[in-house]
């Protein structure tokens, strides 16, 4: 017979919670001060603490790109970044791309080209594409494909994603 050994709940935990640190993040232009445990990723901070669930979790290991956000203008995997590492940084998430209700050209291009299906990788794709355009390295279709390969789309919308990015590049 199996036996589960359960602790008598003691007053003092044997492993206390990690001490929280205060960080200031400028998220979508808004200064946000919060106290956060050192082990909390930027991704979980956005999703669980700030209700900015547009940034998606697809693997938690930097392997899928669903959590891509722009930090100080550069695209990064927010699951591989601890929030405490980014004190003072400018963070742009998918929620911050549309301005005054007007979609960002990439957002509109994704709709125009049907560059998504389930929509789960989409915020990461769009943030990644924004980063790609800012980097200015991708000139050809093959370069776009190569430099967007950190963002997996399991629905397989790549052909349309590339077309959408080309449209937005034309406008940019």
């Amino acid at each position: 017979m199996a036996r589960t050994v359960r602790a008598v709940m003691e007053a003092e935990p044997t492993a206390p919670a990690p001490e929280k640190l205060t960080v200031t993040l400028v998220i979508n232009g808004r200064e946000t001060r919060l106290s956060v445990a050192p082990w909390t990723t930027l991704l979980d901070t956005l999703r669980d603490r700030l209700a900015l669930t547009g940034t998606k979790k697809g693997c938690d290991h930097g392997q899928c790109g669903a959590c891509t956000v722009l930090v100080d203008g550069r695209r990064i995997n927010s699951c591989l970044t601890l929030a405490v590492m980014k004190d003072g940084a400018q963070v742009t998430t998918i929620e911050g791309l549309a301005k005054d209700g007007a979609l960002h050209p990439l957002q509109q291009a994704f709709i125009d080209h049907d560059a998504f299906q389930c929509g789960y990788c989409t915020p990461g794709q769009i943030c990644s594409a924004a980063g790609l355009i800012a980097e200015g390295k991708a000139k050809t279709v093959d370069e776009i494909r190569e430099l967007m390969s950190g963002n997996i789309c399991r629905c397989g919308a790549y052909v349309n994603i590339v077309a959408a990015i080309q449209q937005a590049m034309g406008k940019a």
């Binding site: 199996a2 036996r3 589960t4 050994v5 359960r6 602790a7 003691e10 935990p13 044997t14 492993a15 919670a17 082990w39 909390t40 979980d44 999703r47 209700a51 900015l52 669930t53 547009g54 940034t55 998606k56 979790k57 697809g58 693997c59 938690d60 290991h61 392997q63 899928c64 998430t93 998918i94 929620e95 549309a98 979609l103 957002q107 994704f110 709709i111 125009d112 049907d114 998504f116 299906q117 389930c118 929509g119 789960y120 989409t122 915020p123 769009i126 093959d142 776009i144 494909r145 190569e146 967007m148 390969s149 997996i152 789309c153 399991r154 629905c155 397989g156 919308a157 790549y158 052909v159």
Partner: protein, 732 residues
């Protein structure tokens, strides 16, 4: 006006590109607790001890649930069966001490936040009594048993094969594949009190999840509401309630708090998958290129506790004329989780083997592979001995070949080059069932000319929101923006799981029928308008066009919807209708496709690039060519992964999946995908259902892997018969 057949952009597009669309793990609740699953480290045996001291000692941990201390769950195995359950007894998570497969859940940590739950889960120590396990399919050839649904034979295939002018016989291997939708399976259970739960679940069937939870936890059906308005992909993985759902409910019931449970990517490899399969295909032909014999046998894996079976072997009966055929399907029990349908289940598997075998037969016959298909073309479904409701496959071959430039192909292997790269052109046929399931839809039309259409189907990505809105807008004569869609909620009119490519036909025809009810009422109301130009109109005499009820005989006779409703003193019309398949067994119902693939392979490095694919599809009426094209594109990419990348690897010594992450389980990335052209062949079908719709969710996958594998042979002269075709297999 956005009618059926127009390429409308997705009505939920804005929600998806702005991050406003909310998925199962993204709903907030007061006092939310977070779960983390502890997975078994052995493949077979039982749990003999669980030490929770360290885990419970972590500040912020609320409780840890195991099979010993969990709240009550139903005892009968039957209570765990869902709509999609195969024969056998379903896995019951945290039910008892038994270990049925490696990495099954053995404990659930509940904590105040996710990080704490995850950390504490790493501190749960489980002792096992291990038993010997078996996870290798090939080792079980002699132990396998006949699956229940082996299709019936015709003629005498053995004899005809032995006597055939030309024979081809080979084995084709397919590894285990995992769906890996981008969203991990998750549930947020809102504990409402008084025995009520609202559950945001990642599922393909909200009513399936609802019935399961009510059954397993002995709750009233009405007290369990399951919502799934956005699903981050599923591909079959969400057809059955996966263990995240009962575990999250267990947590909520134990704590009397709301609970969120998200599986890790690693844990996405701890339930259903496309079963690994070994197929033998034997084809006998006359030297002129017609078939005399087909023998197709499959050996597939299932778990120790359920008999998962797909239709793998008899697709040739609907494709190729052949008087003699025999099909076999055997299952081998392994100490793995039960497989589950994965995009084009059975079809993707069986047609891969069949279409590679046809390619090899064409080589043996010295015939162009497309020409062989045409010579073997069947105008009847020989499995059932009936004609097709429609089959424009010839047209798929013609249009696909034209677009691809197939006539410029030099048939000899290694005959085409582009600089340092070998070029290969391959083709294959695709086929999938065109099914319709019973479903209900409700239309509420208000006097301001706005309609709400509701049905409990989920939208896992194909564009169900848009399709539903388009059918309603078309039939009600309203602009698309005047139609709102409600779906993915168990309180809505009945719908089955979203799968099998049946959603457009099932929901679409139910919506069309409900719209007819609305029209009937509107005509009745229109007659009441003072000096009504439709005073004598019967319901079928009028159509709904541009917000008006218009006489079919004389379009100048019409009444506006607001006027009609005012005359009847009505603010709203509500109509619900249920549509069922009209299948009387007299016609075979299939979608078809022809896939043409180009690969370029570096002569020395042997890296394969799929540079071009043309997929010509005949799938009845296409409701939305824009989203339907995306479905085919996605299906082709899925097939490309099958051909070149995807393979779940099991370490048979441990009975454990070892590449359980997206770095080592390869799926196609952007750079792997080049030009894909989708052609929809015109295919009117007045038999299949009133809308003439067949569905396109799966057909894009079927045949794609074979077309690529055949192209690789053409480029290299090397025939690889076990997927995926990785570099090591074509070094030569």
């Amino acid at each position: 006006m956005t009618r059926i057949g127009t390429p409308a952009s997705r009505v939920d597009g804005r929600a998806k590109v702005t991050g406003a669309a909310k998925y199962a793990a993204e709903f907030e609740a007061e006092n939310l607790a977070y779960g983390a699953v502890v997975s078994s480290r052995v493949a077979k045996g039982r749990v003999v001890g669980i030490d929770l001291r360290d885990a419970l000692g972590v500040e912020g941990v609320i409780d840890v649930l195991t099979h010993e201390n969990r709240p009550r769950m139903a005892r009968s195995k039957k209570a765990y069966e869902d709509d999609i359950a195969p024969g056998g007894a379903p896995f019951r998570p945290l039910y008892d001490d038994k270990i049925l497969y490696n990495a099954q859940p053995v404990a659930l940590v509940l904590a105040e936040d996710w990080e704490t739950a995850r950390y504490a889960a790493s501190l749960v120590r489980v002792d096992y009594e291990q038993e010997a396990h078996v996870t290798e399919l090939e080792s079980q050839r002699d132990e396998a048993f006949d699956a229940k649904n082996s299709p019936k034979p015709r003629g005498n295939a053995e004899k005809a094969f032995a006597a055939a002018d030309v024979q081809h016989e080979a084995e084709y291997w397919l590894p285990i594949e995992h769906h890996n939708p981008m969203e991990m399976h998750a549930a947020t259970v809102i504990y409402e009190g008084k025995g009520k739960l609202t559950i945001y679940d990642k599922t393909q069937g909200v009513q399936n999840s609802q019935a399961y939870v009510a059954s397993v936890f002995r709750l009233k059906q009405d007290d369990v509401r399951v919502i799934s308005q956005f699903v981050g992909g599923a591909f079959g993985s969400g057809l059955r309630p996966q263990y995240h759902l009962p575990l999250a409910v267990l947590g909520a019931l134990a704590l009397k708090r709301s609970v969120r449970l998200v599986l890790t990517r690693q844990q996405m490899f701890t339930f259903g998958y496309r079963p690994g399969t070994i197929q033998r295909v034997a084809l006998g032909a006359k030297s002129g290129g017609t078939l005399d014999a087909i023998m197709h046998d499959a050996l597939a894996m299932t778990s120790q506790y359920e008999d998962f079976t797909e239709h793998v072997t008899n697709w040739s009966g609907a494709l190729y004329k052949c008087a003699n055929a025999r099909y076999g399907h055997k299952l081998a029990r392994l100490d793995l989780a039960t497989p589950i349908d994965m995009r084009a289940p059975g079809g993707a598997t069986g047609v891969y083997a069949l279409e590679c075998a046809m390619d090899e037969l064409a080589v043996a016959l010295k015939l162009d592979p497309l020409e062989l298909r045409l010579r073997c073309y069947s105008d009847r479904d020989q499995n059932e001995g009936i004609p097709f409701s429609s089959k424009k496959l010839r047209e798929c071959y013609r249009q696909g070949a034209d677009a691809f430039g197939w006539d410029k192909r030099n048939g000899a292997p290694r005959s085409m080059r582009d600089g340092s790269e070998l070029v290969g052109w391959g083709m294959a046929t695709g086929i999938w069932e065109a099914m319709q399931q019973k479903a209900s839809a409700r239309i509420v039309l208000t006097a301001n000319g706005h309609a709400e259409v509701a049905c409990a189907f989920t939208d896992i990505g194909p564009g169900t929101y848009t399709m539903m809105a388009q059918v309603a807008a078309d039939r009600l004569g309203l602009p698309l923006e005047n139609v709102t869609v409600k779906l993915g909620d168990s309180t809505l009119p009945q719908a089955p799981v979203e799968g099998g490519s049946w959603t457009a036909a099932s929901a679409g025809n139910a919506i069309a029928l409900a719209c007819e009810g609305v029209r009937t009422q509107l005509v009745r109301f229109a007659r009441k308008v003072a000096n009504s130009p439709l005073a004598d109109a019967k319901p079928d005499d009028a159509a709904l066009v541009d917000g008006r009820i218009v006489s079919k005989q004389d379009s100048s006779c019409s009444v506006s919807i607001p006027d009609a409703m005012r005359a009847a003193n009505k603010e709203r019309i509500e109509q619900e209708a249920t549509a069922e398949s009209n299948d009387d067994g007299k016609h075979a119902r299939y979608t078809h496709s022809a896939i043409f693939a180009e690969v370029k392979i570096d002569e020395e490095l042997r890296i394969v690039r799929v540079t071009r694919i043309v997929n010509a599809v005949a799938a009845g009426r296409i409701i939305n060519p824009k989203t339907a094209r995306s479905q085919i594109l996605g299906g082709v990419v899925f097939g490309l992964g099958m051909a070149l990348h995807e393979e779940t690897q099991v370490d048979h010594r441990l009975g454990r999946i070892v590449n359980h992450n997206l770095a080592e389980y390869h799926v196609p990335a952007n750079a792997d995908v080049h030009d894909i052209e989708v052609i929809f062949v015109d295919e009117p079908d007045e038999i299949i259902n009133p809308l003439g719709v067949k569905g396109v969710g799966e057909i894009g996958v079927v045949g794609t892997a074979a077309a690529i594998a055949n192209a690789i042979w053409h480029a290299t002269g090397i025939r690889v018969r076990d997927l995926p075709v990785t570099v090591d297999k074509i070094l030569g």
